[in-house]
Symmetry: C2
């Protein structure tokens, strides 16, 4: 198969492939969709549906979440304030690499502190960081409680749980706000997809 590219008239330039060339190949622009919100707000569900919708449009997306980060890159971090900040910093750096690679990176972390999220934004170029606030009242999140985490936090079995004994700082100027008490996960994912579409991210 390799003979098909052994054309002798191809010359290789100095330096690396540009981001624009990668984006042209993929037919999209690299970007980070940063979801933030309370536990049980619906971030992961929305991220999974958005990923499927993007695939359906033949767009290359990749999710970064607790499953593939906390057990890997960040397995040497705990839950102190310092480690939480470092957790978000590293996720931000990895999202930046995926963005530079031309991929649509979708992150779903509670990321409760404004300054940590703002630091990720400041580390990227304008338009590369889209903050999607997945909004839910504490009351509603606690009623959902699919993993029983709020119950454990109320019982004191989990310390420093966001919303119970640790603050959640809502974004001040997020690009997208989705209230999951009034919108289905599918409609939420569609709204983010429409945002990407309308702002030119789904073409190179």
């Amino acid at each position: 198969m390799s003979t098909q590219v052994k054309a002798t008239n191809v010359t290789w330039h100095e330096g690396s492939v540009s981001r624009a060339e990668r984006e042209q190949l993929l037919g999209q622009k690299g970007v980070t969709v940063w979801m933030t919100g309370l536990s049980a707000a619906g971030k992961s569900t929305i991220a999974c549906i958005l990923e499927q919708m993007l695939l359906h449009r033949r767009k290359h997306a990749y999710r970064l979440d607790g499953d593939n980060i906390r057990m890997g890159l960040n397995k040497n971090l705990g839950f102190s304030a310092e480690d939480r900040a470092e957790n978000i910093r590293r996720v931000g750096e990895v999202a930046k690499l995926f963005t530079d690679a031309g991929v649509i990176a979708i992150t779903s972390f509670i990321s409760p502190y404004r300054k940590d999220r703002d630091a990720v934004r400041a580390n990227m170029q304008p338009g590369e960081f889209i903050e999607a606030y997945i909004k839910v009242s504490l009351d509603a999140a606690e009623k959902r409680d699919p993993k029983g985490l709020y119950k454990k936090a109320r019982a004191g079995q989990i310390k420093g749980f966001t919303g119970i004994d640790d603050p959640y700082e809502a974004p001040e100027k997020p690009e997208i706000v989705i209230d999951t008490e009034t919108m289905t996960a599918e409609a939420a994912a569609r709204r983010i997809l429409d945002y990407l579409d309308q702002h030119g991210y789904l073409e190179a």
Copy 2:
């Protein structure tokens, strides 16, 4: 534009897009090409040419190197033995994420210690980690010395420099060995490309 996908007959399944679906979209398999070798062996040059050759084949590759890692994800690491190990561990974890995303990740780090490289390999599935030993004699590397680093290391201005006062442990069973004293960078990149091609990585 979004109307084209507002087909009401599409349903979104539970869970996430699979790796196989991403690979199908990209027409390739996710893999990490891990280049290791002395400073001035030619790793970065080969990586850049390989990246261009892959783009020419319409394959999605991304390079991880000192430029985009040391100033970002790993900017809080120094050059102690412990920090060097953590540097390589994090690069390995990021390469694993890119591999899972279906991308051809190309890393170019000296990565002098066998146990650090072997740990990255052990953290991935068989076939996902391709070690490419970019071989050069210390003598030849020192004669090239494009950044004057060997000179500084000899003068004692850089401490712990690989090959001078810190060991380089050559791979024992690398998938690919390239001697850059007898092969051009273009031929080296072509050899790696041929390896990827012959082992089925350039198709889904």
